[in-house]
Amino acid sequence: MVKTDIAQEPIGPEHEPETEWMELNMGPHHPSTHGVLRVRLKLDGEIVRDADADIGYLHTGFEKSFEDKTYTQGITFSDRMDYLAPPINNVGFVSAVEKLIGVEVPPRAQVIRVIMMELARVASHELWLGTTGLDLGVYSGFFYAWRDRDLALDLNEAYSGVRMMTSFTRVGGVAWDLPDGWLDQLQRFIDVMPGRLDDFESMLTDNPIWHQRLEGVGVISAAEAIDAGVTGPVLRASGVNYDVRKAFPYCGYENYDFEVPVGTNGDCYDRYRMRVAEMRQSLRILQQAVDNLPSGPWITGDRKVALPPRSELSKSMEAVIHQFRLVSEGFKGPVGDVYAFVESPRGELGFYLVSDGTNKPYRMKVRPPSFCNLQALKKLVQGVLVADVIAIMGSLDFILGDCDR
């Protein structure tokens, strides 16, 4: 039967409410917690004295479910973790398996992966801009953001048939080739987006209220950021120049020329500038990817891992055997453990895969960037007004599906 008296009892050693501090529940059902996060705020009037983030309200047991699924089945699971940038999760998961098995991905598949990931990054940052603006009162910004994000989702849908959960990667490449006419649609997207971003910038960047609400709020220095383990735009806003695409290039990122925006004083306003600048860089990458998209296979020819094309099935018996074995039990990986990581809009998204030689991962630990960013919330909100807690939580851009796994 379903248990219902859980999560009621007091948690934490200091759960007895102090007399003079009021304990406020910024609970799971709250408009600006970007999902189901519960923060137990200890308030001295309007000033926050202590914040204990209580997560787990969206814990879906992904790591347990991965152990029950073969590698190919796990791809659809990886979509649902960080549901703002599913293609990036797909690529991360599949990179771990490819690193374990040692499969080379053909260049065309790498560029398709880069295109889908940068599209997801733009869509995710647009959503962040819309919802964080909503929290801080920019009601019209929500509709601007969604107008642009829908363009990116149309591209996802045209390619993979699904707006958000693309599941477009396979171990050793991508599932399908780009439909014809898709690249022109992408080109139209790349041409129209800079104008849309200028709309946003003109509305927000030097808006005095936006400055007042974000500047100097939630400051974290570079050393503190490294100690707290924050990642992504939050880390770069504090001046640490670390982006996985530049530090450890994967999927061919080394032959794209783009800059990594790095902030100076690590406050909410810098994080906003990081994300808007990252969107512009993503558009640059997309343009370069469209310009020199190589032809050739979009999935590896290694039959141990990839399904043979339909045409081959009628001709060679061996292809039928490969097809049958791959479909029925999948492929096996060597014994060992690997860690593969990609740059998600929230930071470094890592997959630690332990394999015991069977066709299912023995242990799949996901290193969620939102979990690490949220951990710094407690330090960021000490002595801050309650209204600024909303701004700080917005600027951390955490996703509870990614954080709770």
Partner: protein
Amino acid sequence: MLSDYLPLLIFLAAVFVFGLIALFLPPWLAGSRPTQAKDLPYESGIVPRTSARRRFAVSFYLTAMLFIIFDVEAIFIYPWAVILHALRWFGVIEMAVFVAILLVALIYVWGKGALEWGS
């Protein structure tokens, strides 16, 4: 003489009747189904254990007082604005004096730092 006030009385009566209607008709029509959960305070979805009645900081009281002062000042301006045309210059000067007094109060409060939130 009394008849001069008749429209005012009718207006007051109408207000009173409308107030009664608005107060009692909807609950009578909709019917109310109180349940134990509905009476609990809404704590963002968490079932509250302690009562929500807590002592809170004095700064709230201070801010409330300041608001009332300047709000009442705004209320006085409405009737003045209605008959300003009749008052002509005398009305303007009068209101300027009134606002100046409260301006001094505002500058004092601002200087004291009571507007910034601080316990």
